[in-house]
């Protein structure tokens, strides 16, 4: 629940700061005509709708992962809780996902410089590393299953599969978007504004998933145990 508390403090502060800037303190009944200070300064354009939509989607996904983390810590309190051994391949996977994130950032920088060839290469590297990350995750699952750490034998195992599974599903969704972007780039002669936006959205989403994965990994290998203890102490 402390996880949710932290998450909400963040979301609500963003929302309230934003609202304050939108003039919720105004008195609309006194204002007629076009409200001058709402006009955008010349040269600035509103952010593309897709970017706003992605930001909101990240809030929803963040809420989902925070709830899973909250459930993880609450359930982890029970005496039967026994974390499975962490497959070593996860360290390598973490490296792959970070590399994927870096590749997409490189693609974004290249797109802003209108370097089509570089965008293409970087996107392909990003997609490939993300794909290998997913294969690596499946490898980790297989390793655990071979060692007979089934989802039904302990809730900690079940959480391992659930957390990594939900994260992987989000990454697969991202790969679909990335594939569409790559397809657009493949046929493009130069980098359009729309293309840059697509690459940017993919990059943002990848950074978010990397961030979620790092927190999740810390939880799974037990680095976040101290946090769980603090939560419990706060709550009791």
């Amino acid at each position: 629940m402390s996880v949710m508390g932290l998450f909400f403090i963040f979301v609500f502060s963003v929302a309230i700061l934003w609202l304050a800037r939108q003039g919720v303190m105004e008195s609309p009944w006194l204002e007629e005509g076009e409200v001058a200070h709402y006009r955008r300064a010349a040269g600035t354009e509103p952010p593309p709708a897709t970017k706003v939509a992605l930001a909101i989607f990240l809030a929803v996904a963040g809420c989902l992962f925070s709830l899973l983390a909250a459930a993880f810590f609450m359930r982890g309190d029970a005496p039967d809780w026994q974390m499975p051994p962490i497959p070593g391949v996860l360290w390598f996977n973490t490296f792959l996902l970070a590399a994927s994130s870096v590749a997409l950032q490189v693609a974004l920088v290249a797109a802003r410089r209108s370097d089509v060839e570089r965008v293409k290469t970087a996107l392909l590297i990003g997609a490939a590393t993300a794909g290998f990350f997913l294969i690596g995750q499946m490898w980790a699952w297989r390793e655990l299953i071979e060692l007979k750490f089934f989802a039904s034998s302990n809730a900690a195992n079940a959480f391992f599969y659930l957390l990594t599974g939900v994260h992987a599903l989000h990454l697969i969704g991202g790969l679909v978007a990335l594939a569409r972007t790559t397809d657009k780039v493949r046929n493009a002669a130069c980098v359009t504004k729309e293309l840059t936006t697509s690459v940017e959205l993919c990059a943002i989403y990848w950074h978010f998933l990397l961030f979620v994965w790092l927190l999740m990994f810390a939880m799974l290998i037990g680095w976040a145990d101290g946090f769980g203890v603090i939560c419990r102490r706060l709550l009791s």
Binding site: F12, L19, G23, V24, L30, V60, L68, S152
Partner: protein, 588 residues
């Protein structure tokens, strides 16, 4: 008083025609079935929601018949009773109310009220409806699977919901959870659309503080829903894994029919936390759009600007934020730490402040107003009374010490039906009578509408008001049969029979509404573009019903807030939002 920086006699130039790629329907199928126009999607959403709503209404008769005549109706056994209770609750809360307010009214009104041509992502919007429809069909399909739908109660508390003995533990519970997960996926697509449309597609001059309160209500509800539904999603997926793969997220070590199950150490309380993390905001997801719509109905039909617009907006935001941190008041009897109870009681009672503020503002809008007792206005007033009534019993139940004896009695049933059953439904009716002329171009029959109002309003009171007394007597909810019970007097049984007869009558009386709806569709008096002389933008469309793209060639420009009624010196008693300002004109 006007904004000094804008010259009064020079109207700003009209907004440029937006170069948007509008979706164009090419065939009957893409125009009426797989349509991407928000107005058609809205009607599809509302139609589906009302259809399952009627199913849920029939289920409520099953519940009432059993309570009035225990065991006398041959086809109602314990299994059917519990299935009816569960399906009635789940359908009404999620598949009816949430869908009709956000999917129905949200889709129709947001683009029109903020001056947009359509939702920002029309394709995703269409997808949202079809996923919702599939979710509904999966839910209803559980009637045709062995064991029938789940009878676990709409809260689906484990372990009972997935163990033998609860009706529908074979297939019903699985289909219910799959359906909920689908609903949430579909809703997330819709919700993203509503929010981004409000943020990005407002026409020129339409600042946030010039949006009608309806849009504010739906906008805030959509934000809350996007943050709350993940709670149900997580709970649903984990319960599904417990049921199908035998994981132990929620189910503790348990003996079922003499057999020790393999579950170990699961936490049912964890499920309750996750469920109510969604469940309580859900109340306000339904209530906030209703608040917004009622504000507009009252203002239009009382010919007066809404009192304290700014406060109303702040109250909507405050309610939205507070309602995310009160879920624990559904768990006072779950054995939680008393300090928790204290915390949640404080936050719960704190919500009464912004809510009461809204009620005062509605009443003060009516004060010295030119009230027209049209059908929409009657429903709005009915809402006001009902909501206050249900809200006050909420103050009782928000206190831990009062809640503990009243918990799981009919008092709670009476409370939440008043506050989130009857009150929002009255708003839905009022809103349909109000916007029907815009949607179809024809008026609904006023006389039939008034008959419908009085039967529904008085009938609903006759049904739910006595339940408070039954609850105070200690009559438990959810029980199939009371049997021999010393503390419940014989008169309670008589009261139950009376309630049931009225419930049947009020239910059947809804036929008046549907008769009116379908008759007016064809034979209603032509409405013209703005029959209520309303100022907000949706009534100023060039065509009625609004055509494809809503606004013809040019998007409207907004010069003032949407509540310019009874303006001194204006040619009519109202000023549309998009009428250019005239020299020397005073703001209302």
């Amino acid at each position: 008083m006007t904004d000094a920086s804008v010259p009064q006699n020079v109207a700003p130039p009209p907004a440029e025609v937006e170069d948007v790629e509008l979706y164009h329907a090419h065939s009957w199928i893409t125009k009426y079935v797989f349509c991407q126009d928000a107005k058609v999607i809205a009607i599809q959403y509302a139609g589906t929601a009302i259809t399952v709503g009627i199913l849920a209404l029939v289920l409520s008769w099953v519940i009432r018949l059993q309570l009035a005549f225990p065991g006398a109706i041959p086809f109602i056994d314990a299994q059917v009773y519990y299935q009816s209770v569960t399906m009635h609750g789940m359908i009404m809360v999620v598949y009816m109310l949430t869908a009709i307010f956000l999917g129905g009214f949200g889709n129709y009104l947001i683009p029109l009220m903020v001056g947009a041509r359509d939702m920002v992502f029309p394709y995703v919007n269409m997808l949202s409806y079809w996923v919702y429809l599939i979710a509904t069909l999966v839910l209803v399909a559980s009637y045709f699977f062995p064991g029938g739908p789940t009878g676990a109660g709409w809260t689906l508390y484990p372990p009972q919901s997935i163990l033998t003995g609860t009706p529908g533990h074979e297939w019903g519970i699985i289909l219910m959870l799959v359906s909920l997960v689908l609903f949430i996926v579909g809703f997330t697509m819709g919700g993203l659309n509503y929010i981004v449309t409000v943020l990005q597609a407002r026409t020129r001059g339409m600042t946030l503080m010039r949006m009608p309160l309806t849009v504010w209500g739906i906008f805030a509800a959509a934000v809350m829903a996007l943050l709350a539904f993940p709670g149900l999603f997580v709970a649903g997926v984990m319960l599904l894994l417990d049921r199908t793969l035998g994981t132990s997220f929620f189910v503790p070590s348990i003996v079922e029919l003499g057999e020790h199950k393999e579950y170990v150490g699961g936490s049912p309380i964890l499920f309750q936390h996750l469920f109510w993390f969604f469940g309580h905001p859900e109340v306000y997801i339904v209530a906030l759009p209703a608040f917004g719509i009622v504000s507009d109905l009252i203002s239009v039909h009382a010919r007066k600007n809404i009192f304290g617009y700014r406060m109303m907006v702040w109250a909507i935001i405050a309610i939205g934020v507070l309602s995310m941190v009160v879920w624990g008041h559904h768990m006072y009897v779950s054995g939680m730490d008393p300090w928790f109870g204290f915390f949640f009681a404080v936050t719960t009672l704190a919500i009464a402040v912004p809510t009461a503020l809204k009620v005062y503002n509605w009443v003060l809008t009516l004060w010295h107003a030119d009230i027209h007792f049209t059908t929409p206005m009657l429903f709005a007033l009915g809402f006001l009374v009902t909501f206050v009534n249900g809200g006050i019993t909420g103050l009782y139940l928000g206190n831990v010490i009062v809640d503990v004896p009243l918990s799981a009695t009919l008092f709670v049933v009476a409370h939440f039906h008043m506050v989130m059953g009857i009150a929002p439904v009255l708003v839905i009716f009022g809103a349909i009578y109000h916007w029907f002329p815009k949607i179809t171009g024809r008026m609904m029959d006023e006389r039939l509408g008034k008959i419908h109002f009085w039967i529904t309003f008085l009938g609903a009171y006759a049904i739910f008001f006595p339940m408070h007394y039954l609850g105070v007597l200690g009559m438990p909810r959810r029980f199939y049969e009371m049997g021999e019970t010393a503390f419940v007097p014989a008169s309670a049984a008589t009261l139950n029979i009376v309630i049931t007869i009225i419930a049947l009558a009020v239910g059947f009386a809804q036929a008046i509404f549907f008769y009116n709806l379908f008759k007016s569709l064809k034979y209603g008096a032509p409405a013209g573009g703005n029959p209520w002389r309303a100022a907000s933008l949706e009534w100023q469309t060039p065509e009625t019903p609004p055509g494809h793209g809503n606004w013809g060639k040019q998007l409207p420009v907004v010069y003032r807030w949407p509540y310019a009624y009874s303006v001194p010196g204006a040619p009519e008693d109202y000023l549309p939002q998009n009428a250019p300002p005239v020299r020397g004109e005073r703001s209302p």
